[in-house]
């Protein structure tokens, strides 16, 4: 009888379906996975160590680069932690702007996920559609912060600036003549809020399009139904949060259960799955797209009706206006202190968690009373999810590894930090 050995496959770290830089050592029995050992850390940049050597505000930009497809949500957890330690109040308008951009970010994240997930399974066209819509939302990011991705828009005490009254428009170029450009600018004639409102009106139709392509698609269901099942009990034990937990049928969403910002004033539902397989996680995230759209609509209506400050007037934390600075000595001193030394945060520690598109994103801050965080720990949901990868893929086929991995919505920026 032939001497049979298990076969070991090295998956990644450079592999299109590894969602970045995952190295996965797979122990195979034929085409069945015996076990998988994920090697992470190839994108480890020491964000937490770097933050210890910088004033608090300097690290906001690092937060964007953690989970680099849901930038503003990361910032939210971080600034919320600082605000809690400082005891600074955030104006209500800033809270609504934050919630609106958190939900825009959730759509951005889920669109990226949906496109990449479908691409991993073999459906090319969904990716193109998802990126078409992402473009509009990235324009919203750019309109408020000047950056398409790494916004650094949330600051302790509020947001960097109020929403712009005009939406930037396309200009005619070699590739688009005046007539085409006028058509592309049709929904950009008004303010940013007009543009977002128009997007909210269009978006449910787009979600229907994605669903037409996937939800009842026979191939899609063959690849995802009953793949990577996690029972609700096991999902809790494994520390799953967000859509991974909800996909397994556990009704848990920090926006409902431990509301922050103004989520308790808004109306939305939490979708949950039944079997806890890849297909359920897909359905949960698609429904979250629709719910986010509903939330954005409510925020737009509120923001239209309620103008007001978007930044705390505590100038020990938030910079004074430039015009004021040129007239007022005290404002000048505040500005100087803030931009050279930063602010000293009272001694203490806090854990600030938000419902990030991928799950619970938490920031544990320890302050010793100085202008730099003494310790910053980022609790990334993806880290926990990928630690359960071995358990989820064992016994499945090689092709399912890719499905399961991408159904976890892994981004290595936050896993490796």
């Amino acid at each position: 009888m032939a001497d049979l050995h298990n076969y070991t496959i090295n998956f990644g770290p450079q592999h299109p379906a590894a969602h970045g830089v995952l190295r996965l050592i797979l122990d195979m029995d034929g085409e069945t996975i015996k076990s998988g050992d994920p090697h992470i850390g190839l994108l480890h940049r020491g964000t937490e160590k770097l933050a210890e050597s910088k004033p608090y505000n300097h690290s906001i930009g690092y937060m964007d680069r953690l989970d680099y497809v849901s930038m503003m949500c990361n910032e939210h957890a971080y600034v919320k932690g600082i605000e809690k330690l400082l005891g600074v109040d955030v104006p209500e308008r800033a809270q609504y702007i934050r919630v609106m951009f958190d939900e825009i970010t959730r759509i951005l994240n889920h669109l990226m996920w949906l496109g990449a997930h479908a691409l991993d399974i073999g459906a090319m066209s969904v990716f193109l559609y998802c990126f078409r819509e992402r473009e509009d939302l990235l324009d919203c990011y750019e309109a408020v912060s000047g950056a398409r991705m790494h916004a650094a828009y949330y600051r302790p005490g509020g947001v960097y600036r109020d929403l712009p009254d005009v939406m930037p428009q396309y200009e005619a170029s070699r590739w688009h003549n005046d007539k085409q450009t006028a058509k592309r600018n049709e929904n950009r004639e008004g303010s940013l809020l007009d543009f977002i409102e128009d997007f909210c009106a269009r978006f449910p139709g787009f979600v229907d399009e994605y669903e037409t392509l996937l939800t009842d698609n026979r191939i899609w269901k063959q690849r995802t139904v009953d793949i990577g099942i996690v029972s609700p009990e096991r999902a809790i034990e494994l520390g799953f949060t967000g859509p991974m937990l909800r996909g397994s049928g556990v009704e848990w969403d920090l926006r409902k259960k431990q509301p922050y910002a103004v989520y308790d004033k808004l109306d939305f539902d939490i979708p949950i799955g039944v079997t806890g397989d890849c297909y359920d996680r897909y359905l949960v995230r698609v429904e979250e797209l629709r719910q986010s759209c509903k939330l954005i609509k409510q925020c737009v209506d509120w923001l239209r009706a309620n103008p007001g400050p978007v930044m705390s007037d505590n100038h020990k934390v938030a910079p004074p206006k430039r015009e004021v600075m040129k007239e007022d000595m005290e404002a000048m001193i505040h500005h100087f202190k803030l931009f050279t030394e930063g602010y000293c945060v009272p001694e203490g520690e806090t854990y600030s968690a938000i419902e990030h598109p991928k799950g619970e994103f938490g920031v544990y801050l320890v302050s010793d009373g100085s202008n730099k965080p003494y310790r910053l720990k980022v609790r990334a949901s993806g880290f926990v999810h990928i630690s359960a990868l071995n358990e989820m893929i064992s016994g499945h086929m090689l092709a399912d590894v890719v499905t399961i991995l991408s159904s976890q919505d892994i981004v290595f920026g936050e896993v490796d930090r």
Partner: protein, 228 residues
């Protein structure tokens, strides 16, 4: 659930065992001796008053430089802060009296919707702790990370390997005495035809000094919120 009620219940259940049990910023923190961590965690998960069924996070803190600043703030200084200089250390705080390392657990109960932070201080000569992987499966990688970054070992951990650092890495980077720029740098050596490691040639520099101001500028504001 009411956090004060939880605090009272925890106090009652583990009376005598806890070194600290207080609510700050609306968060409950307890300190447990290293020898009792497994037993306390098991009770926190199993007993119906607590039901902490999720281990949200396990991490560690190195208190080596706690309360030590790089810039004198009490008196006016004679010279400015020199950038790119050797760090000048001033003690503006009372010195840290507790052990150097702390392992911090953040627990969450989905059933009862409450959180708790469990801290466990470790003496430098005995950096070992019972693993809680048998209580919460999610602690597995968190403990590996703490081992990798701080060099704290977890007894009875099923697979205590380094997690985030490079293969063959030496040292524990998140300790406060580990330099920010590290000890070695890596480059591709065209002559040797392979990747080589060399000692770093970057001078450590501080662009913004760490200061501790005890003028309590925000304290009043924070206290107001506490009192609400």
């Amino acid at each position: 659930m009411d956090i004060a009620l939880l605090c009272a219940r925890v106090n009652e259940r583990f009376c005598g065992l806890l070194q600290y049990c207080e609510i700050h910023n609306g968060e409950l923190t307890i300190e447990v001796p290293a020898a009792d961590i497994h037993e306390v965690c098991l009770s926190l998960r199993n007993e119906s008053a607590f039901e902490f069924n999720q281990c949200i996070d396990v991490t560690a803190v190195d208190y080596l430089q706690y309360g030590i600043a790089e810039w004198e703030t009490n008196d006016s200084s004679e010279k400015g802060f020199e950038r790119a200089c050797e760090r000048h250390r001033v003690n503006t705080h009372e010195t840290w009296t507790k052990p150097r390392f702390a392992v911090v657990y953040h627990l969450l109960s989905l059933e009862r919707n409450h959180r708790i932070r469990v801290k466990c201080f470790l003496e430098e000569d005995n950096l070992a702790l019972s693993s809680v992987v048998d209580i919460w499966a999610s602690a597995n990688w968190f403990e590996r990370e703490v081992y990798d970054m701080f060099g704290i070992t977890f007894n009875d951990h099923p697979d205590l390997r380094r997690l985030l650092t490079d293969y063959g890495f030496i040292g524990h980077p998140f300790r406060r005495d580990f330099p920010l720029s590290g000890h070695v740098e890596m480059r591709y050596d065209a002559k040797a035809g392979r990747v080589v490691y060399e000692p770093v040639d970057i001078e450590p520099r501080v662009t913004v000094p760490k200061v501790i101001r005890a003028d309590n500028r925000y304290q009043s504001n924070a206290n107001l919120k506490e009192g609400e």
